[in-house]
Each structure stands twice: as structure tokens, then as C-alpha cells.
Symmetry: C2
């Protein structure tokens, strides 16, 4: 509005650092993943829940805001009434708040699923965004292994619902109580006193891939000097304990039944360890009953991630490539989801332990993994494009588009400005295959011309001159308008 | 963990003021509305877009943060790098940013749809939340009335896709250029100079329902004193102009064609007015061609809301009850969505006008309106409930649940603790109809017992004593396990 005197200061159009605009194909594919997961959860009798993006900072936990720099890891702001609110960083903390707030009104076990954006106020990186979508299912109020077995089955069903086949994924189950029990059985008390040693043992096991058995053995014992001369203090376990821990890491190399037998020996008289074994047995019983074999859900004592956080069974979903490694095992692509039992979730609010178990996956992460496996079906075909050859016929074009849509096919009329050449450029950029052109003469003759732009682009490579192209018109045909729907259905449905 | 000495300070579990936890039925119904709308947009060749929850405050517009109180109307916070970010308050401002940022890479017209949470930092009220879901479709880069006609058709198609029938809703179209033109034709210049008068006229028309024709007539002229003695200054229009404006408000009482004829007289020689009429004609031509009658899309010159904001055609979707008013017209429930043409959306960033037109609805608002009309189908049946009569049979119960799911029916096994009585209470609270009970004897006999809890609750009302109930067992039957799936399919599918 203002005249030339002051050139107006215009804001720069840029999206905030670490956030993304999602393109259409990704959105469609992610929506399909979420729909598939939801349908599995629904079938199992879970109910959807949606909590707000914000929670009060104190309810969210892990975070107490200070005046100067409240945003450590979370996005926080102060409400009108001076209370700090934070955007949720996962879907579990809001679930805990919801369950605590509505405890008496909820039929328990309360089993819910939820998908939604979570926010992390962290340094963004390639493929690491500050807003991303998680999809969770949790059982609250179910202490037994049946709820954990259900989580494993859900995880496996979700993987198959999104298009993976048996052998392309594996749900892997470990149990924190097992390692606790094995250590207890070899003299590391299952109390605060043994906490540091347990942590050191976890860290040592986590390095098995990198350091090999002898390196881990050293870390479980006195300690280890690495190539650079740095010395890592060891967990100082007894030789028997070291042997037991190393035995633990390989205890699951057989099937589920063999694993349980191995573990029963290792945990010995530890009550906690025996409880862990019993949980695996209970899970195995249910998996067997429904015909779920080790290809789908396996016990895997080498899983360490989450053992410090969860209080019982721990799950991880591994995506497996079709190629095998030297030992004939499928190559790991990586973890695409996980979960476990966390019996102290609601205790922050209520001071009482409420048993809970859950499974979660990152939607974008799962999608990229599926893309790597080429396990994605094409989600959407481009619409049929109706060119505006003659503006006076706009109504006819809209009518034609409606007819095509009624046949179940996407269709659009060009609503921009520009001649047919420009319209065809638009159609090309939109990735459109079929473009329909109808002028007045054609309309009066009851005909339409259909261009196959994909075929046209292919044929164009082989054709030398413009004239040759014009005389051949290889990817274009004129048909009776009455046959249009059959023609398109034949090509597209 | 801590001993009695210091009672731990526990956070109170409460959701933030003005935010909501959505219950399962609402979530399912809203998801269905969004799916239905998306499917319409998809069919018309629109593509989905997802932008982040955050935008830079300067890009979002309408809002320049000041140091003390940045949150006026929006939720804002300062990023690590000191830039202000705001949560989006609608989906249009982020679209403008996206289009401006990717202008050269987008095939235009760029037609996208999007649904997502928007945030308003306002005082919450009953049914007014600070986070709610909007669903938008917009065409950017299409200057002609064809794009506006498409928006009207989309709006009507969405209403029918969510379950409304013809006659239960109406898309109503006005055009800002008409009133501008009528005023210009009667001496109010279509420039800055006439801006105040145009605003006064809009405000006066908006009071038609409340003040009647004579009240509005006064407000268009010298002014009006209300019952309390307060005086509102009038727009000071000439008598001819007043007559024309009043004529405008009733110009659409006939059909679309009659409306155009009336309006052509009223706008006289005003170019802007004539342009408005031509736009209505172009829209009407397309609506007629696709067989879209006035019941679905009408011209309505009494629509004022949005006339100040939009730059051309304005749309509003009215929900109509089946009951009629005294004049035989369907009673208005209210507006459930709207939109229009806004040709200056992207100009904030690029300094050039980019034509755009769009349609938007609030998902919760539409849902409540559908509930009032009882136009909602039941979205989800409760699952079949399998009681854990004997823990040793857990595997059998899970297998049974799997079988039921494979028949397309939701099913769950009880994964909590508690005896059968407690389990039935849980099932009751979950609203479950069918509960299955199978003990070892029944299993060995190949039988299951099915309780119909809904029927049971009904019959219980008529039965006097506990003994009578026990001997009658009116809502329970024992059937062969082989017949279970057929039994359930018969009742539920």
C-alpha cells in the first residue's frame, strides 16, 4: 500500500530451524502407517486418546524451569497466570498425567493408543527434527506378563500391517530382572549398593560389538586401557560373575525355550532373576499359543538399551534386511521401535506404583526404514488432468471431472491462467500421466483427446525432430467421450 | 523412595487451563470427518501438506513480540538463537510462508489441503479451547472464478462426505466486490477515502437480524439512538445509496440467476461491481454444469462476516435443521465453515499479489453440529471381551482373541488382575456387550459361555431377587466353540 518513499520491510519466508514441511508423498505414506497401526490397536480393544500439546512443566517431570533458561530439552513458556507450560517431549509423560488425573474414573487395565507430534528443544541435525510424530500403545494397571506378551504381539502385528513380511522384522525381548538376578546370584547385591556395578556392567555389555568378548571381559573385571592409552575402570566382578555375565549375553542364541533353560541356570537362587525367567515363560506360553514363532518375537539377552530405564521386560523391534551376514543371520538395519514395562510411571503423582507396559515407534523413522527395504506400496496416483482448451467450456470440463471422480479416479480441471502449452507444463510438473483435451469441435463430435504424458516423455527420447514428433503424435489418441470412463478405469483402476 | 522423614512434594496431575483430553468416541468421530474431507480433496487433485507447529513470529504476521508480554493471542517463545517463534494460530499464515519460501519450485495453481492443531493464547471458555483442529483446502495462483467454484463444490462435497444430506447444509456465497460496487455506483468512492463509510455499512448490515430494516436504514443514514439512549453515528449515505444497500441485502431472495439480475441493476456502472457480478456468473455456470443446485450452493448477499477480510468471493457453510421457520425456510443452526478469496496472502513476503482462495472448517465445531443433527453414525463397537477364568488357559484365551480378530471383530483378553466378578465390572465400565467365559471343563467339552452384558443389564431391571437371576441366567448361553465365530459374526458384523 505504501508508496515508493519507504520501501517496506518485508519478512523473510523461512521455516524455523530444525522444523520441516512434509511433502505430499511422505504425508500420505505416514498417514497410511498410522492408520495401519491404529487399526491393529483398535482390533486388540485399545482405545484412542488425545492429550494436548502442552503440559504443565512440573507435571511433565524431568524438568524444573529456572528463570533464565527454561528451555533445556523442552520448549517451555510461561502462561498468563505465571505457570510454566511445556510442549510434550513424548506421549508417555502426558499419559501418566492423564491416568493420574482420571485414576478413579478409568476402567483398568486402561489400554490406549495415541499418535501425535512431540517436541524436542535440541540441536537439529540431518534427519533429526525438533518436531516429529510418535505412535504409542500402552497398558496401565496390568502387572502380569500377559500385558507384555500383548505388547510383543501388537508390535509384530503393526509391522505386518505396514507391509513387512515375516523375516523382515523381529521383536526382541529382554528383561531387566535377568541381569539383576544373575549379578545378585554372583554377589552383586540387588540394592542401591550394587547400583554402580550394575551400571558398569550394562555399559560393558553395550560395547560387545565394538570391543569383542575379551574387551568386555576386561571391563567387567579390573578395567581396560584402550589404544589411545585412556584407562576405563572395570566393574570389578568376580571371575564367576564375569563368566555368568558373558554367558548371559549369549544365552539367547538358541530358541525361546533354550534361552529360558540357559537363564534359569544363570540366575540360580536369585528371586529377582527367577521372577524374570517366569515372565519370559509366561510370555512364551502366550506367543506359542497364538502361533507366534521366533522369527516374529525372539528373546534376545544382548539388548541393553532401555534396561536401565524399564523395570521388567524390554522390547525392541529390529528391521532385518533380506541379505544375510557371514554367520547366515539377517543383517540388522536397526531398531525402529521399542518399549517395555515401567511400573513407576504414575507414582510421581500418586505415590503408589501403577504397573504399565508400552510400545512406541517414530513414524518418520519407520517410514525411512520401509523405504530402504522397498516395502512401500505407491500410495496415490496423480489425478487425471483436464485441460482448459476453451474457457467457454469450463462447465463441461468440471462436469467431466465430476464424472471421472464418480468412477473412483482422482481428477482436476486446470483452474489457473495460461494457454494449453503452459497447462501441459503444469501437468508435467505435477507428475500427471493422463491429460484430457477437448475443444468445441471435439465436444460437438462427442470426442476427447487423451495424452499420456508419461509415455510421451519416454517416446520423446527416441524421436529426433519436432516435425517427426508432430506427425507421429505417439502418446495421444482421440476417443469417443462415451468411452472415456471405461478407458480411464482400464488404465487406472 | 524416600523415607517418612520428608514427605515428597508430588506434582498435581492436571491438564493445562484451556486444553482438553479428547475421549475415544470423539477422536474416532473426528478422525472420520478428517478422513472424509481428505478423501474429497484428494479426489479433486489437491495434495496434502504438513507445516510445523512453529513459525517465526515475523513470518506469522499480525504479531510483533515485545520484550515484556510477547503472548498476545499467540503462544510465543524465544529460540536459542534469540529469534521469536510462535505456534501457528491458523493454517493459512503457514501456507503463505510455505508458498513464498518455495515459490519457484511449486507448480501453480498450488492446491493443498491440511489438517492440524492451531493454538490461540486466549481466555478459554466453555467449548472454547486454546488448541483445536482446523481442516483447510486452498488454491494458490488461480485468479479466476473457476477456483472459487471449485471451493464451493469442495465444501458441499465435504459436507455430504461427512454424512449430511442435501437440505441439511448450504454453501452460501457473497462477494465483496458487489457491495463495494453498489456503494461506488451511489457515490462512495472505492478508495481509502470511502473506507470508513464501507466499514460502517458492513456493521449496519450485520445488525439486520437484531434491529430490522428501519434500524439499519437509520444506521446507513444519519444515525440511531438505541433504547438506552446511546447514539451511533450513521454512514451518512444518500437516500438512493440507502435504498441500494437495502436492496443488496435482499437481492438474493430468489435463485442464483435472479440474484445476478438484481445485482447487475444495483451495481450500475461500477466496474468493480460488474466484476463481482461476472464472478458470480462464472461460478454459477460451473455449478449448473455439474448439476449443483441452490439447495447445495446458493448466493446470499446477507453474508457479511469475512467481507472485510476477503478480497472477492466469500463462502460460508450453514448447517440447517430439518425444522422450518415461520416463513417455511429451514432453521439455521449456524456457520460450520467458511472461506473466500484473499489475493494478498503472499504479498507480505514477496511484494507481489498472488491470487488465492480457500475453505476451512473447525473439526470439533463440525462434529458438535453433526451431533445436534444426529447425523453421526456409530463409529466403533466395543470389543468382545475374553475373561480370564483360569490363568493356566491364558494362551488359549489369546488364541481365541486372535481368531475373533481374524473374523474382523475387535477382541481383547483381560490382562489385569482380579477374579471374574472384578473382570465383569471392568467389562461393564468399558461398555462391552459380549463377554466370553471358558474354564477347563468347558474347554475340554469344546464349549464356551457367552454373556450379553447389555441384555443382562436390561433384564436385571425386571428381575426381583438374586436367586431368581441365578436360576434364570437370562443373558447367557453356552455354545460349541466351533460355532463361536459364526455366533459373533451373526451378532456383530
Amino acid at each position: 500500500m505504501s508508496k515508493k518513499k519507504n520501501k517496506p520491510q518485508r519478512p523473510k519466508a523461512r521455516r524455523p530451524r530444525g522444523f520441516e514441511d512434509k511433502p505430499a508423498d511422505i504425508i500420505r505414506a505416514e498417514r497410511r502407517l498410522i492408520d495401519a497401526a491404529f487399526s491393529v490397536y483398535d482390533k486388540h480393544g485399545f482405545e484412542p486418546l488425545q492429550t494436548p500439546a502442552f503440559e504443565y512443566a512440573d507435571a511433565l517431570g524431568k524438568f524444573l524451569p529456572d528463570e533464565d533458561r527454561p528451555n533445556t530439552g523442552v520448549f517451555a513458556l510461561r502462561d498468563d497466570d505465571e505457570q510454566w507450560m511445556s510442549l510434550r517431549y513424548d506421549l508417555t509423560a502426558p499419559l501418566a498425567r492423564f491416568v493420574a488425573e482420571n485414576f478413579d474414573g478409568l476402567a483398568k487395565p486402561y489400554r490406549r493408543y495415541q499418535a501425535g507430534s512431540v517436541f524436542r528443544n535440541e540441536k537439529p541435525g540431518p534427519g533429526r527434527f525438533r518436531e516429529f510424530v510418535q505412535c504409542d500403545a500402552d497398558s496401565v494397571g496390568a502387572p502380569g506378563a500377559a500385558a507384555d506378551a500383548e505388547m510383543c504381539l501388537l508390535a509384530a502385528d503393526v509391522m505386518e500391517a505396514v507391509g513387512l513380511k515375516s523375516g523382515q522384522y523381529q521383536v526382541r525381548v529382554n528383561n531387566r530382572k535377568l541381569l539383576d538376578g544373575i549379578l545378585e546370584n554372583t554377589g552383586v547385591p540387588n540394592t542401591e549398593e550394587g547400583a554402580l556395578q550394575r551400571l558398569q556392567v550394562l555399559r560393558a555389555i553395550d560395547k560387545l560389538d565394538r570391543l569383542g568378548v575379551s574387551g568386555v571381559e576386561a571391563l567387567l573385571g579390573e578395567g581396560r586401557e584402550d589404544d589411545s592409552g585412556d584407562y576405563t575402570k572395570g566393574a570389578n566382578l568376580s571371575p564367576a560373575a564375569i563368566k555368568a555375565v558373558l554367558g548371559f549375553t549369549t544365552a539367547s542364541e538358541g530358541g525361546r525355550g533354550a534361552t529360558i533353560t540357559n537363564l534359569e541356570k544363570l540366575v540360580g537362587t536369585s528371586e529377582r532373576g527367577q521372577a524374570g525367567c517366569q515372565e519370559l515363560k509366561d510370555i512364551d506360553q502366550i506367543l506359542q499359543a497364538v502361533g507366534c514363532d521366533s522369527d516374529r518375537v525372539a528373546f534376545d539377552t544382548s539388548i541393553v538399551r532401555g534396561l536401565g530405564y524399564y523395570t521388567g521386560p524390554v522390547f525392541e523391534v529390529e528391521l532385518l534386511a533380506d541379505i544375510k551376514d557371514k554367520k547366515g543371520r539377517p543383517v540388522r538395519i536397526g531398531s525402529i521401535g521399542g518399549g517395555g514395562r515401567y511400573d513407576d510411571l504414575v507414582s510421581r503423582f500418586r505415590g503408589q506404583l501403577v504397573p504399565a507396559t508400552g510400545f512406541s515407534f517414530g513414524v518418520s523413522r519407520l517410514l525411512s526404514a520401509l523405504e530402504r527395504l522397498e516395502a512401500l506400496e505407491t500410495v496415490s496416483r496423480p489425478p487425471v488432468f483436464i485441460s482448459v482448451f476453451d474457457k467457454a467450456l469450463l462447465g463441461e470440463y468440471f462436469k467431466m471431472a465430476e464424472d471421472i471422480r464418480h468412477a473412483g479416479i482422482r481428477a482436476e480441471v486446470y483452474v489457473g491462467t495460461g494457454n494449453v502449452t503452459k497447462q501441459m507444463k503444469y501437468a508435467d510438473r505435477r507428475g500427471i500421466q493422463f491429460a484430457i483435451i477437448m475443444g468445441e469441435d471435439e465436444m460437438n463430435a462427442g470426442q476427447v483427446t487423451i495424452k499420456d504424458l508419461w509415455l510421451g516423455a519416454e517416446k520423446a527420447k527416441a524421436i529426433q525432430s519436432n516435425e517427426e514428433w508432430k506427425s507421429a503424435r505417439p502418446a495421444q489418441e482421440t476417443i469417443s467421450r462415451d468411452n472415456l470412463l471405461d478407458y480411464l478405469k482400464d488404465k487406472l483402476v
